[in-house]
């Protein structure tokens, strides 16, 4: 893999634009899902080694929620939305317009709401990519995992083919009125897809 070599300033700028577009469209999708205005602030973009992710989410044993999809078609990659368990509860409350603290566990309904967040985020994000790159890209159905961060991230490491790899990290906040919930998106693009973006 030559991801680090190909990730130059030009590509960084381009991805930043794509990320902003993608996340904005994801927020639009969420807004129509919940019937209220949800916005996302300008995402921060970083390239980080896969091995460091767990420590960024609070350590490998931290209980977290991961929403995982793969992109198929012309753009190949993985898409992971990961947040500490408490944040996931907060996000459910925000989406369902309940006071923070109302949701105390993730049942079927809450899990499918989170799956939908992943689905919308990934779909809108991939659509933005597709528009720019003229490559088609479709997300697989989302899988919601509730477990230790390390365990959730194994799938990403396994599919990426190892641990020496870098992933593209986007951090942003979902905002609804004066409430906000910080979420982190991990996009793990296949190097061939990155090459396509750079052209």
């Amino acid at each position: 893999m030559t991801l680090t070599l190909t990730f130059d300033d030009h590509l960084h700028d381009l991805l930043k634009i794509l990320a902003a577009e993608g996340i904005r469209s994801a927020a639009d999708g969420l807004s129509s899902m919940v019937g209220a205005r949800i916005t996302v602030n300008e995402p921060r973009l970083r390239l980080v080694p896969l091995a460091t992710i767990a420590s960024l989410v609070g350590g490998p044993e931290t209980e977290a929620v991961g929403i995982y999809l793969q992109a198929t078609g012309g753009v190949v990659g993985q898409f992971m939305l990961v947040m500490p368990y408490e944040k996931a509860l907060e996000l459910v409350d925000l989406l369902m317009e309940q006071p923070t603290g109302t949701t105390t566990q993730l049942g079927t309904l809450e899990r499918s709401a989170l799956a939908e967040v992943g689905n919308l985020s990934a779909s809108f994000f991939l659509n933005a990519l597709a528009r720019r790159t003229k490559l088609d890209a479709r997300p697989t159905p989302p899988a919601v995992m509730v477990d230790m961060v390390g365990a959730i991230l194994d799938i990403v490491a396994a599919v990426a083919g190892g641990v020496g790899e870098h992933v593209l990290l986007m951090e942003g906040q979902f905002l609804r009125d004066e409430r906000e919930v910080e979420v982190t998106f991990w996009v793990i693009p296949d190097p061939s897809a990155l090459a396509a973006f750079a052209e």
């Binding site: 091995a51 490998p60 899988a143 230790m148 390390g150 365990a151 194994d154 799938i155 190892g162 641990v163």
Partner: protein, 166 residues
């Protein structure tokens, strides 16, 4: 539980092998999902080793000693332990992990990596004529595994359950 100082806690990251003969030490692999940890311990020399492998089989461009893969990792773990003074005939071998983190309907995405990791570990250990003395594998839950160098005790922790000995 044995008290282990923070400085004596050695985290074994993805694709790593760690060894110790210091009775103060504890080797730990946090949050194993589909990954597999293989532990080997010689009770006589107190030589302990823990492998945290990600994928079942080494790809041909990878180093033959790579700990990222179960097959090469298991062989490398044994080789390093023997260099550290462990005797193959005395080794207590245990394995943990290989969960399927995605539900059945997502199985295609998961490619059954957990299951394949466990199968690869059995093949690798058998080919090295090593018997598995204990295991906690499969299922759908992530695990943290700890190996105490002083006495070879091994514990497994799953979220929402008591830590238990293996």
């Amino acid at each position: 539980m044995l008290a282990v100082a923070e400085g004596n806690t050695h985290a074994v990251g993805l694709g790593e092998i760690k060894l110790s003969r210091d009775p103060q030490d504890m080797l730990v692999a946090y949050g194993l999902g589909s990954c597999v940890a293989v532990a080997m311990y010689d009770p006589f020399t107190r030589a302990a080793g823990l492998l945290h492998a990600v994928l079942p089989e080494r790809i041909k461009d990878a180093e033959v000693t790579s700990a990222k893969y179960v097959d090469s990792g298991v062989a490398q773990l044994l080789a390093e332990l023997e260099r550290l003074g462990a005797n193959r005939g005395r080794l207590v071998v245990r394995m943990v992990g290989g969960a399927n983190m995605l539900s059945l309907k997502d199985a295609k995405q998961a490619l059954n990596i957990g299951e394949r990791n466990v199968a690869a570990a059995r093949v690798a250990l058998t080919s090295l004529r090593l018997r598995i003395n204990g295991e906690d594998v499969g299922g759908t839950k992530g695990r943290t595994v700890r190996l105490f160098v002083a006495d070879g005790r091994m514990t497994v922790r799953v979220l929402g359950s008591e830590t238990r000995d293996l």
